[in-house]
């Protein structure tokens, strides 16, 4: 029911620190937008500016076409779930959820009915008379969401809502949030530093770094077509392998020359490399661990090295290999045991190689 637009939003603190730089973002109705990035990238600040908890230094925030820069948070009709839940400790679960309705002087009977509905949705019915101090982390999280849901706000803002939960509960709550989004059909804006949460929950992901937006895209595009080296390295676990390579031409075929081998470039990649004038130059290349293969069955070896650590995860295994091009990580479903110190040759799936400008770190070709 709402559209949120950020136009050239900038946040400068009194000490001159630029937390958010010229952010442009369009959030359409019913989108689940994730702001993701390492700590200090400005994602929380951006969220708090949308909520009205931080002043906007420059730029314009529009909610449903109305300029909101100077509107107090009370009047923005936005709900937020905080990292530490921020439940009112002296109130019961019922009072916490009902508080916003009480302020609006909603009739008691309606409050009662709506609180019961929300409690039902979130499985809090038996806990309504408890004080919040008696709740577990997951229950507190649910109450915090209940407090947000009951208002039927224009948008839900969530600031790292799962980071205080243990791993198992986090996975469970993640599914519940996804489920809630399906049922509520409202705009969600969700801040996290956890790229798994970002990839699984979001319909649109905004990757930020140092106060700047790096890329806005769908989870699949972000993974397959990262806009720069930072995004490529940030999205995906284990993280992408980076190595230096030289672009050379051999009989009309463009290849990336590594210390130990050659990676042939397909037509699309070759065209991009030629267009950028990269032939004969040094480049930065990246390959995801799942696209690294063991080259002992005749595939062309690109790297050679010694196995460092071998992690068997069940259905797959992670192998860390020290090579002349740096440490390479291979994520393989071939479950043979690799011994520490074992000599190994690695190949890559050539079509899956990403190439970056070593100076600007922008993607040359995906």
């Amino acid at each position: 029911m709402s559209e949120i637009i950020l136009k050239n939003i900038t946040k400068e603190y009194e000490n001159g620190f630029l937390a958010v730089k010229d952010v442009n973002l369009e959030i359409k109705d019913n989108e689940f937008v994730i702001l993701v990035g390492p700590s200090g990238c400005g994602k929380s600040t951006t969220l708090r500016m949308i909520a009205g908890l931080e002043d906007i230094s420059d730029g314009e925030l529009l909610i449903d076409g109305k300029r909101m820069n100077d509107v107090a948070p009370q009047h923005r009709d936005i709900a937020m779930v905080f990292q530490n839940y921020a439940l009112y400790p002296h109130m019961t679960v019922y009072q916490n959820i009902a508080y916003s309705l009480k302020i609006k002087k909603t009739p008691k009977a309606e409050i009662e009915q709506r609180v019961r509905e929300v409690a039902e949705t979130l499985g809090l019915t038996g806990l309504l008379d408890r004080k919040t101090g008696q709740l577990s982390g997951g229950q507190k999280q649910r109450v915090a969401m209940g407090r947000a849901i009951i208002r039927h706000p224009k948008a839900f803002l969530m600031d790292e809502p799962l980071s205080n939960l243990d791993a198992k509960l986090r996975g469970q709550m993640r599914v519940e949030i996804a489920d809630l989004y399906q049922r509520l059909n409202t705009t969600f804006i969700y801040v996290t530093h956890d790229q798994t949460e970002a990839m699984t929950l979001g319909t649109k992901i905004v990757v930020m770094k140092d106060g700047e937006i790096q890329q806005i895209d769908s989870p699949a595009n972000l993974f397959n077509f990262p806009a720069n080296r930072f995004v490529a390295g940030f999205i995906g676990t284990p993280t992408m392998n980076f190595f230096d390579a030289t672009c050379t031409e051999e009989g009309g075929q463009l290849v990336l020359q590594t210390e130990k081998g050659r990676i042939p470039m397909n037509e699309k990649k070759a065209a991009a490399l030629r267009d950028g004038g990269w032939v004969g130059k040094q480049l930065s290349a990246g390959i995801r661990p799942e696209h690294v293969i063991c080259a002992d069955r005749g595939e062309e070896a690109v790297f050679e090295g010694e196995v460092g650590v071998f992690e068997l995860l069940g259905s797959n295994a992670i192998v860390y290999v020290q090579t002349a091009s740096g440490r390479m990580v291979m994520n393989t479903s071939d479950l043979r045991e690799y011994a520490h110190g074992e000599k190994i040759s690695l190949g890559v799936m050539a079509d899956m190689v990403h190439v970056f400008d070593p100076e600007t770190e922008r993607t040359v070709t995906n």
């Binding site: 009205g52 009370q74 905080f82 009112y88 002296h90 407090r147």
Partner: protein, 301 residues
């Protein structure tokens, strides 16, 4: 569970011999007995005698001291003064202390100095403070009247009139304990998580509502603590009354404690004096129990 029971058993085994336990408790217990429990018991006993503070002998007189107190209008006057003094210092100390804390909780240039200045009366001896205030309250040329006339108000007689003497003592007492209340409120306010206010703002609460729905409940344990401490302090106020008014003029600032002092050490009627003291103890206990009971309703830990 098994482990917990084991620890408990071991603990009991080691400490079940009374002499060992006693050894650890005695250092705290001996002064308590000598200076507190024994004097209280002795006072209760004395309140049933006619001891004159000097003679080596005395007679048991039963409830006579209490009965004559209850027939004495001076006693009820003092009781009323105690109520007025306690309420008159308790409420303003807490309200003004909270207001000062709210003003000073955000650090700004000079806020540290201001906190120190406001707190300093608490660590200054009451006797010294009271002497200074007798100068301030001087009817001719005292600062209090100078300020009043500068504001266009007519001067007051302050401590030399029975109409304003109680007000004067109350002002001094509030002024002294204000900084103390402020310091406790400052630390309580700093501990209220900022996120609660943000959550409140997003829930639509105005600043006023945030104050009443978030701030006040969050600092309620401090309010409760200050109420008990200020009440006990007010019931025990002696120094400022002694220096400023000596209970006068015409008994207008005579509280129960000051009456006790006058009966015992000026009129040498220790029997009646200790009867007043016993009534004061009962009063303190009753008020404290009442406050503790009431606190279950409004104090949130």
């Amino acid at each position: 569970m098994r482990n917990g029971a084991g620890i408990k058993r071991r603990f009991q085994k080691r400490y079940d011999k009374p002499p060992v336990v006693l050894l650890f408790v005695l250092p705290a217990f001996i002064p308590l007995i000598v200076f507190w429990i024994y004097p209280i018991c002795r006072s209760i006993f004395l309140s049933f005698t006619n001891w004159d503070f000097i003679s080596p002998t005395y007679k048991l007189v039963g409830l006579k001291n209490y009965l004559s107190l209850f027939r004495n209008p001076r006693f009820f006057e003092a009781l009323w003064h105690t109520v007025v003094f306690t309420a008159g210092t308790l409420i303003p100390t807490i309200v003004l202390g909270l207001i000062l804390a709210l003003l000073l909780v955000k650090n700004f240039r000079g806020s540290g100095i201001m906190k120190f200045i406001l707190f300093s009366p608490w660590i200054t001896p009451t006797v010294a403070i009271s002497i200074v205030w007798t100068w301030i309250f001087k009817a001719d040329g005292g600062i209090a009247n100078t300020i009043l006339s500068a504001l266009g108000a007519s001067p007051l007689k302050w401590i030399s009139s029975s109409d304003t003497a109680m007000l004067s003592v109350v002002i001094v007492t509030i002024w002294k304990s204000l900084g103390y209340a402020m310091i406790f409120y400052l630390s309580a306010l700093e501990k209220v998580p900022g996120e609660l206010y943000e959550a409140g703002a997003l829930d639509g609460a105005s600043k006023w509502r945030q104050f009443f729905d978030i701030t006040l409940p969050s600092i309620s344990p401090t309010t409760f603590f200050l109420m008990i401490i200020t009440m006990v302090n007010s019931l025990q106020a002696y120094d400022q009354i002694q220096i400023l008014t000596q209970g006068g003029p015409s008994g207008s600032t005579r509280t129960l404690l000051y009456m006790y002092y006058q009966l015992g050490f000026q009129e040498f009627n220790m029997g009646q004096a200790t009867a007043v003291a016993v009534i004061m103890i009962l009063l303190t206990v009753v008020l404290s129990v009442f406050q503790f009971k009431a606190s279950e309703k409004w104090v949130h830990y």
